[in-house]
């Protein structure tokens, strides 16, 4: 039995109990939302261009009364290797008169990218930031989380989320993909982590996250700090730094930063949004001298995060760098055509990458 099943079953049972027992015969609201995208890559090193993937991600929301929300997102994707259908998340959220308890399979709340920015119609670039393509962060967890936020003043607030979940999720072929990079030991039965966020201004958020999972005699610990500055006039600057240790030894460092500016104030160009992004991922401190990594052929390892049409990155013996410069054309506030020049510096692979994304 995979690690997901006990929690999924418990979540389903608890959700059923909540819906049937806790909720009074109150009003219910159902909404179908979601997003989709199509990608096109044109390598500038001579390889043939082509469409590299399409996906459709329906999201179903069922609100029962004032305190319960059942939600899930399904990804139906074809990246050229056949049809993939996956469950991105499926949760029951319960309002505990202030804090919110979330049970089920939920997007990882560490950092800001996965939980808030990964949908293609929200992400300003056609792909994920570089550190999210090397597998040091799980996409989701199966377990329970408790979150809370409090207004300090009208303009300042503090947010927190803590979770307890199963061990690192397995990939589709049954291997514990996240830690595949570092060990072939089976994961322990649980992992934990959380994030604290502080809004000094409505426009400025600072966050700190931790994810910890034991692997036999070793602990995997990922720490990250993130920030976001968003001006309603169209300026959006955000980024994150990450550091992972395994058994106390540093095994990974990464960072990404992105700036975009929606040209609201320029009448003829108000639907355009130039974007720049920088990414850095370094697993060389670990992979360079480790026999286990060598036996795995670490360059072949693909991570939990999946490529989401973005092209996964091999975490090799040298640091990886990526520079992206692009522009988004907003056809509507929920429909965007993106074009980006993406340059993987250390392997000198420039690519023109386009994406049409929509949210609904």
């Amino acid at each position: 039995m995979s690690p997901l099943r006990p929690t999924a079953i418990a979540a389903a049972m608890l959700g059923t109990l909540c819906v049937s027992g806790m909720a009074v015969a109150a009003d219910t609201s159902f909404h179908a939302a979601g997003y989709g995208y199509a990608n096109f890559d044109a390598p500038l090193d001579g390889d043939a261009p082509g469409f590299t993937g399409v996906a459709f991600n329906p999201i179903f929301l069922w609100r029962e009364g004032d305190r319960i929300l059942v939600s899930n997102e399904v990804e139906i994707a074809d990246s050229g290797d056949g049809l993939d259908i996956g469950l991105e998340y499926a949760t029951v959220a319960i309002d505990l008169w202030g804090p919110t308890l979330v049970i089920g399979k939920f997007l990882t709340p560490t950092g800001q990218f996965i939980s808030r920015l990964h949908p293609s119609w929200i992400n300003r670039m056609p792909d994920f930031p570089l550190p999210y393509r090397v597998g040091v962060t799980p996409m989701s967890h199966a377990g329970a989380s408790l979150q809370y936020a409090a207004n300090l003043t009208a303009d300042q607030k503090i947010t927190g989320v803590a979770f307890l979940a199963n061990g690192v999720p397995e990939s589709e072929d049954g291997t514990p993909a996240l830690m595949q990079i570092f060990t072939d030991e089976p994961p322990d039965r649980f992992s934990t982590g959380g994030r604290l966020g502080l809004f000094l201004l409505p426009q400025l958020e600072l966050g700190g996250s931790a994810f910890w999972s034991p692997y036999g005699d070793h602990d995997y610990l990922l720490l990250s700090g993130d920030f976001a500055f968003t001006e309603l006039d169209g300026v959006d600057i955000r980024g994150e730094v990450m550091r992972a240790t395994w058994g106390g030894d540093e095994v990974f460092t990464g960072a990404w930063a992105q700036a975009s500016w929606r040209l609201y104030q320029v009448d003829k160009l108000r639907f355009l949004e130039p974007v720049v992004r920088f990414g850095y991922a370094d697993g060389s401190t670990f992979s360079g001298g480790d026999a286990h990594a060598a036996s795995l052929d670490i360059g072949e390892v693909l991570p939990v995060s999946g490529d989401h049409g973005s092209g996964a990155v091999d975490l090799g013996s040298e640091p990886a760098y990526e520079v992206c410069v692009g522009a988004d054309l907003w056809l509507r506030n929920n429909v965007v055509a993106k074009l980006a020049y993406v340059h993987r510096v250390e392997v000198d692979e420039p690519t023109l990458r386009a994406q049409l994304a929509f949210g609904y």
Binding site: R116, L146, Q147, Y148
Partner: protein, 169 residues
């Protein structure tokens, strides 16, 4: 147990204590700062994605989405309440004998502004004597939020709103 593991467990327990403190303070503290739903909507929804026009979804749809956003964006209870009141207000019941407000007669305003804002709020601003320059600033800001008004329509609407004929007092 390794020192690292001890430290992590201590951190998690501290976080749980912080969160449980939140439960207690939420139940006992006075209501937090007064929040405007439109501001909460612009500040929080616009932080990650282009904000959808409130008129895009039904009231029932917004009820589900507002809760979803509460979880995703980790909104405070006060923010959630203000957001829900803004996006999914209870159906208005017209008072017997009530007459329409002057601002409701403008088709551009009715087709755009009233999709998000209550007409009484706009009428109050008109009655307060706002100038054309004030309205131009407001409408420019609304255009950045996604209001589908051309610059020419914005100029005309600002001029129209600033005239005495639109006042109800």
């Amino acid at each position: 147990m390794s020192p690292l593991r001890t430290a992590i467990i201590r951190t998690v327990l501290s976080s749980a204590a912080l969160l449980s403190t939140g439960v207690l303070t939420t139940r006992t503290a006075k209501a937090g700062p007064e929040l405007d739903g439109a501001t909460v909507y612009q500040d929080n929804c616009g932080r990650c994605h282009m904000p959808r026009t409130p008129g895009d979804l039904s009231s029932a749809g917004w009820r589900a989405v507002a809760f979803h956003m509460r979880v995703t964006a980790n909104l405070t209870k006060a923010e959630f309440d203000a957001l829900e009141a803004f996006l999914a207000p209870p159906p208005a019941t017209a008072e017997p004998g009530a007459t329409s407000r002057p601002v409701e007669s403008n088709p551009v305003l009715a087709g755009n502004c009233l999709r998000c804002h209550d007409s009484q709020r706009i009428q109050d601003a008109v009655d307060g004597g706002r100038t054309m320059a004030d309205w131009t600033t407001t409408l420019d800001r609304m255009r950045t939020y996604g209001a589908r008004i051309t610059p020419e329509q914005a100029d005309e609407l600002a001029r129209w709103l600033a005239t005495d004929a639109q006042r109800s007092n």
